[in-house]
């Protein structure tokens, strides 16, 4: 048992846990942070894009020493069929700003850096220490944690759970149900190394400029999911993920999808000559607003992936994690200043503050999307094929007159999805989106 009593114990040293621990330690609170990995970042997997805004609100001058790969100046959205893609690319020199908005990062390095800031701020971090359960007083209030080390208990006024997507502590302690296969995606990712110059010429980049490609279509073989390709300084991150229940139903394997994605004629040239140095897999909570567990209780708060804080439509997660972590930390500091206990009633302030941020607003806006996608999987197969066929008809010069081509395209949409089907999809999407 650690004899010292803490103002807060933070479980996990990912973006949410680090944001919470940093925010509290910086304000002079006595913080103990527990991480099961060998070092912060050793267990953490992400694409990975860093959204500057969320981090700026915690560490305004992070750009001075954070390990950043490339700032994103170009976004490509691809809908793919088996041989083609139809893309929407947006590239702007405006993204070459003094304080860029998005960066590619390598999490093992970034999390280590972030954790260094947390420790500089005064939090005590113990790695290779797994929290096994929450300790409660007779009234059921959470008063500390038990770890897997000898003499492994520690006590605090509040426990912040930033334990990630498959939060076993919260599950074991009955704070939230087990993950459901239809609200969580399984993504696999590889890091392919290439010389800087090759990446820069292949993706049309200069200096530290970077490109992000998000892809959907037949690459997920009829399942709900997306693929991605991100440029790092000397490597390319490529990955693909689908909802777990879809994998279970289809019997497809995640690595099988990734292999096929890598072999796609539009992708293969981008990876040509590269060496795969690293592979990883990760669960992503994609159930959205409707899948969110309780976020606080007597003596505890949930932050980050553990609270299902992911906006799957916009591929945002780490920024929600950092923001929820920061606001949880600020709430605890606020209570401490007022000399109030971390009761359920008092911690409701956490949710009140969250409601005012983009986190809850976005999650609420898209609350119908997961269900919509779950019920309309044809979107991932039918439309990419139709779009690609239409583009091909339109761009191929073969003596067929343009009016006939228009007719042909319209026909293909009608036979591919029927008119009521097309209108229905559009309406359903619009309804889920608003």
């Amino acid at each position: 048992m650690i004899r010292d009593k803490f103002d807060a114990i933070v479980v996990g040293a990912g973006p949410s846990g680090n944001a919470a621990a940093y925010t509290m330690a910086k304000e002079g609170l006595k913080v103990l942070q527990l991480e099961r990995g060998e070092y912060p970042g050793s267990k953490n997997v992400q694409g990975a894009i860093l959204y500057a805004d969320a981090l700026e609100k915690i560490i305004p001058d992070f750009r001075e020493d954070a390990p950043l790969e490339r700032h994103v100046i170009e976004q490509r959205l691809w809908t793919m069929d088996d041989t083609s893609y139809v893309g929407m690319h947006y590239r702007s020199d405006d993204f070459n700003e003094e304080k860029p908005n998005r960066y590619t990062i390598i999490r093992a390095q970034f999390d280590r850096w972030f954790s260094g800031k947390v420790r500089e701020a005064g939090a005590v971090l113990l790695c290779e220490t797994t929290v096994t359960e929450l300790l409660r007083d007779p009234q059921g209030r959470v008063i500390g944690v038990r770890t897997d080390r000898d003499g492994g208990t520690a006590f605090a006024d509040v426990v912040i759970l930033g334990e990630g997507v498959n939060g076993l502590v919260g599950q074991r302690s009955g704070l939230r149900p087990e993950l459901k296969p239809d609200t969580v995606a399984l993504a696999v990712k590889e890091m392919h190394f290439l010389p800087r110059e090759v990446i820069e010429s292949r993706f049309n980049l200069a200096g530290n400029e970077g490109v992000v490609i998000e892809a959907m279509g037949t690459i997920t073989d009829g399942m709900t999911g997306t693929g991605f390709i991100y440029t790092n300084q000397e490597s390319i991150s490529i990955g693909i993920g689908c909802i777990v229940s879809d994998f279970a139903e289809s019997g497809r394997t995640p690595y099988g999808l990734l292999e096929a994605f890598k072999r796609h004629p539009s992708v293969r040239p981008l990876l040509e000559g590269s060496e795969c140095k690293e592979y990883a897999a990760h669960l992503i909570p994609e159930g959205g607003y409707n899948a969110m567990p309780e976020l606080f209780g007597d003596g505890w708060i949930v932050v980050g992936d553990a609270g299902q804080f992911v906006n799957a439509v916009h591929r945002e997660g780490s920024n929600l994690a950092m923001t929820t972590g920061r606001i949880a930390g600020e709430t605890v500091v606020w209570l401490k200043r007022r000399r109030e206990m971390a009761t359920k009633a008092n911690l409701a302030e956490y949710q009140r503050r969250l409601e005012e941020t983009f986190v809850m607003k976005d999650l609420r806006k898209y609350r119908r999307i997961p269900d919509f996608l779950h019920r309309n999987k044809h979107i991932f197969g039918v439309y990419p094929k139709l779009l690609s066929a239409a583009a091909q008809t339109w761009f191929r010069v073969d003596g067929v007159d343009k009016r006939a081509k228009e007719k042909q395209i319209f026909q293909s949409f009608r036979s591919g999805r029927t008119l009521p089907g097309l209108i229905g999809d559009a309406l359903k999407l619009a309804r889920s989106w608003r």
């Binding site: 048992m1 650690i2 010292d4 103990l32 390095q109 005590v124 971090l125 113990l126 290779e128 220490t129 770890t147 080390r149 000898d150 003499g151 492994g152 208990t153 520690a154």
Partner: protein
Amino acid sequence: MHIVVCMKQVPDSAQIRVHPVTNTIMRQGVPTIINPYDLFALEEALRLRDRLGGEVTVLTMGPPMAEESLRKALTFGADRAVLLTDRAFAGSDTLATSFALAAALDKVSQEFGEPPIIFTGKQTIDGDTAQVGPGIAKRLGLNQLTYVARIADLDPAAGTITVERRAEGGLQVLQTRLPVLITMLEGVNEIRRGSLDDAYRAARAQIVRWSAADAGITELARCGLKGSPTIVKKVFAPQGRAEKVHQVPTADRSADELAADVIAAIFRTQPPLEDDLLRFAAGQ
């Protein structure tokens, strides 16, 4: 009893790469670990301390980042950590390293009490020379027990120690007088986990940092690159072999036929082997 363990932070050899053009080790991004052999030494020291009381000091020489390894050693349960770090030590070979460590050990004795036992691992996984331990013993005038598999008996009052030493062709049982330097063999124990209290103490511990001057080292010419007569003439990566896998179809073949197929396949790729065998069979 005060016990000192000398250890080294090394690149994790499981994750190391050699640059294909320059043939130098690419250390960038390669995680570092405590030299695995040193962990057997540390665990042995901790067991002696638990049994006899006293303190375990871990000592390392290295760049400031070696502090990580020391902190890890504290997490395992060591009581004190000393980092010998100075630009003057950069580029040390085993001669210069043992010189600096011996001097630092003198200083450790003065500051924290004379250690009857100093442990090291049998060698490091990056240099693999196994010279530093004996080098320290020689300089400090200690009896040395290398490749120790077990401490059979230790009598601090009488000042004697008996160990089992694995040597070529057998096990030696050796007895000598304290103080000694022991280099510990691998696989003889398993490093402990460390309690939550150990981890907490380690996270907040102040690591003792000594420069060359702090350790009382004045002969800088005997340190670092200047004090290292070893010259690495050439480093090269072994050539990849061009051998291929040969497949022998197994369908519808009896065991005898398969054996004949395999032997034929081997002789096809290695004709000299067949010649040798035939010569051998002919009694030549």
